[in-house]
Amino acid sequence: MNNCTERIYNGLVKENPTFVLMLGMCPTLAVTTSAVNGVGMGLSTTVVLVLSNMLISMLRKIIPDSVRMPAFIVVVASFVTIVQFLLEGFVPSLYDSLGLYIPLIVVNCIILGRAESYASKNPVLPSIFDGIGMGLGFTVGLTAIGIVREFIGTGAVFGQQILPLADAAAGKGGYVPVTIFILPPGAFLVLAFLVALQNKVKNNAAKKGKKVPESAGCGEGCASCGNSACGGKVFPTGNEK
């Protein structure tokens, strides 16, 4: 059981997909206009991640190595479709606000990355906990960004008004929301400061001689992810030699 708690700690803190590995940037930027959307997207991804890790780990000895990427994609796409229908049926408001980004969970680097690097090599139980850890790490990351953007952009958190808004017509002073933070440019700006902060921490740690985990993926662009985990190997191209 020790191994399982270690997996969760790993996903939440040590290799947090949002803050440390910088994976899955597209949904991170797109859906974090409010904290609620962040939680919803994070949990949907978690469910898909746990289920696909479980199934891929079960099938890891059956799937031939040469077709593993298409097989993983089919598994992930099936679970995404199931989650999509569940959301449409039971949480229609969230379904509407996440929209296109639910089916796009399929191409989220986190899921294929974990399938490739962990679930296809490890037994079922640790793989499930790896999914839970990574998924919760992603949820925490999205929620944190969502809270920042929603707070600055509207003065509210989780839809609860924290700062009283200014009302020029009534001559009432108060918080003037910086609307740009809930518009697309705000997403880039918040992420820029987040990565800068992460660089700062890493640089300080490096000066003290500590080892820091490398960011594996989309921080440097999914180009690296596309090469190693997803695109490059979806079907063997014969160019690898």
Partner: protein
């Protein structure tokens, strides 16, 4: 005709795929160091998205929809796109070596570019017919091309600037993207 023009301009400039829909962020940040590689990537994306939106449109209209299999769209589309990219790569290698040399290295990366799947799914969601779908695909991918080439041009200049330590690398690129996104907000009055 007017309607098609509105779809094209709307998808290329007003709702720019990278700067307002956040699709294809990864290649946008990863392959935008030099103008010519950025243009190569953009060209490959235009090529693949145009073909993909046509093929997925055909398959949805003539296979999935008549048989009542609409719910399989995500699975079917991602497999079509993966196979299509592979096929395009093999075809170009045999038939058009110069084009292959220009675009070849970028093609495998495109499978996981969420913009391709995004366009295919949006076409279904907005109930576009095949012609409208292809126009939307071309518009979107040209929008991607514009954004990534501008970004690469700016990044080549940034190379010479003195940037504080923490902001070197990805953060300054994201700040640049912020300013570009603000600029592209200006197009919203266009249609």
């Amino acid at each position: 005709m007017k309607e098609l023009l509105i779809i094209a301009i709307g998808s290329a400039l007003v709702n720019n795929v990278v700067l307002s829909q956040f699709l294809g962020i990864c290649p946008f940040l990863g392959v935008s160091k030099k103008v010519d590689t950025a243009a190569g990537m953009g060209g490959a994306v235009v090529f693949v998205i145009t073909i993909a939106s046509f093929v997925t449109g055909l398959i949805y209209k003539f296979i999935l929809s008549p048989l009542g299999f609409e719910y399989l769209q995500t699975i079917v589309f991602i497999l079509i796109i993966a196979a299509l990219v592979q096929f395009v790569e093999m075809f170009l290698k045999k038939a058009m070596p110069p084009l292959y040399n220009a675009l070849g290295v970028y093609l495998p990366l495109i499978t996981t570019n969420c913009a391709v799947l995004g366009v295919a799914l949006t076409n279904v969601q907005k109930e576009y017919n095949i012609l409208q779908g292809v126009i939307y695909g071309i518009g979107t991918s040209v929008g991607f091309l514009i954004a990534i080439v501008i970004m690469a041009g700016i990044r080549e200049k940034i190379e010479y600037n003195d940037i504080s330590e923490s902001f070197q690398g990805t953060p300054i690129v994201l700040v640049t993207a912020t300013l570009m996104a603000i600029a592209f907000c200006g197009f919203s009055g266009l249609i």
